[in-house]
Subunit: 272 residues, 2 copies
Amino acid sequence: MTTDPAPQTIDAFIERLGERADSLPKRLKQCADYIAANPDRVAVSTVAELAAGADVQPSAFMRFCQEMGFSGFSQMQKLFRTDFSQKWPDYGTRLAKLREHGGETPSALLAEFVEVGRASLENLMSSIDPAALEKAVETLAKARTIHLVGFRRAFPVTSYLAYALEKMQVPSVLHTGIGNIRFDHTIQKGDAVLAVTFAPYSEQTLEIAEAAQRQGADLIAITDLVTSPLVRMGATSLLVVELDVGDFRALSASFALAIALAVSVGARREKA
Amino acid sequence: MTTDPAPQTIDAFIERLGERADSLPKRLKQCADYIAANPDRVAVSTVAELAAGADVQPSAFMRFCQEMGFSGFSQMQKLFRTDFSQKWPDYGTRLAKLREHGGETPSALLAEFVEVGRASLENLMSSIDPAALEKAVETLAKARTIHLVGFRRAFPVTSYLAYALEKMQVPSVLHTGIGNIRFDHTIQKGDAVLAVTFAPYSEQTLEIAEAAQRQGADLIAITDLVTSPLVRMGATSLLVVELDVGDFRALSASFALAIALAVSVGARREKA
DNA sequence: CTGGAATTGGAATTTATATTCCATTTCATG
DNA sequence: CATGAAATGGAATATAAATTCCAATTCCAG
């Protein structure tokens, strides 16, 4: 058994796999080949399963893991698991700690929000479904009028969208709820409603979304969870997972998404 | 415990999650929310890890699995592990692919905004003056009423501030300009005005800032350049340099700053 | 061939993880 | 405010998986 340090990344592991593959005994080579062909199975399988796949005994597979520099299969699997969902290591606990320490200095708090914002943005890229985004742009681009709906924490997003769309001369209405005047009835067939809401979902937003469906208008949603009522209503949904610091949610990812959406729609309209 | 059959696909599971979520007891709802937010983690985690993530006991998580129609956690995990491979080469590859296609598709545009947002945040940490931030918090915390002023592209920032301050019960007024009604005269000595504006600076914001100074109210500014009129007026200034993509400015840095500011002020008020 | 080292298969053991159980708390109802 | 039902936390148990060990086999040098 070699005493090399364990690879720290999957790439490093793959590299070592290539170097060593030829000098391994028969059974171990089978393991190497199987992993090279099915790297995606490692994170979700047991040694027994992988061994069976490589047509090898579990104990042989264990030796293979050690040959590659790991203490055993578990350590190797951990690498594959964390690298996959390395999104945010465990912000949950980190932020919980922050909450305990209470109001630190404003600068420390700012650093925390900056960090969370960066993580949210990074995560956005891997969680957004390009097909859904494309469909949302398509729908909004051909809408007669775009209705923007979002209250409370979602309102900054819709108000920015209103600004951006206005600048590009895309007809849009910002539903503000001012004076308790509702514009539900202005939604018509051929229009599109872009609803933005995060848990706990605002009643008012949901009502307008329902009105949109009754009128046969298209419904696009920027929301947070797969369980969101808007998803269940069958809206074309763009999911944005943001982290909270205390009771406050970073909005960087939502904004990036909103701007990209607005600009894409604007560009596509001009072409047509 | 219900006796429904176990969901056969993840979509079916998600659907059931949505249906049931509202009628679940507190702890089980936490489980539901955690899974809705982190569906990718299910395949590669243990009950203990997921339970910790949902801030719940493992036994509660088990009950949740059963409530969803599975015999236990293992059965549920099997479902998630089955189509795990579909999501394989993940974020990294995906992001690279998106970039290759240039600035045409909505996804590519999104990648660009994400990148710009990240850069802006990074920038913010090095450009913000902790002393100015501290002074701004101090001033806002002791103000009788905080007036929030910002129009057009700055309006999302002030509207979010209004939301956050309201939530923490800090007295604040959002100057919206609705109906062309101006609230300049409500600014009094002892109040503070938080003005947000970026080049080209909005006339209206500057006028209100001037009114504030006439009244002897404190003036805090979130703006972009040292040459900003607000800086020259002697406001306590927090400078945020945001990068543009085309004509559109990322707002992530401004938001991070605004939230940090609001939370700091809220925390300091509570102490006093 | 033969002796010895390397390799292998499979069972035995250890460790980790899922699952169940029950005492305690919380909640709702009359 | 008392009472029962529902929900919860945490420890106890059962199950499954990882890991080790060793006897059996293979391979190769002499």
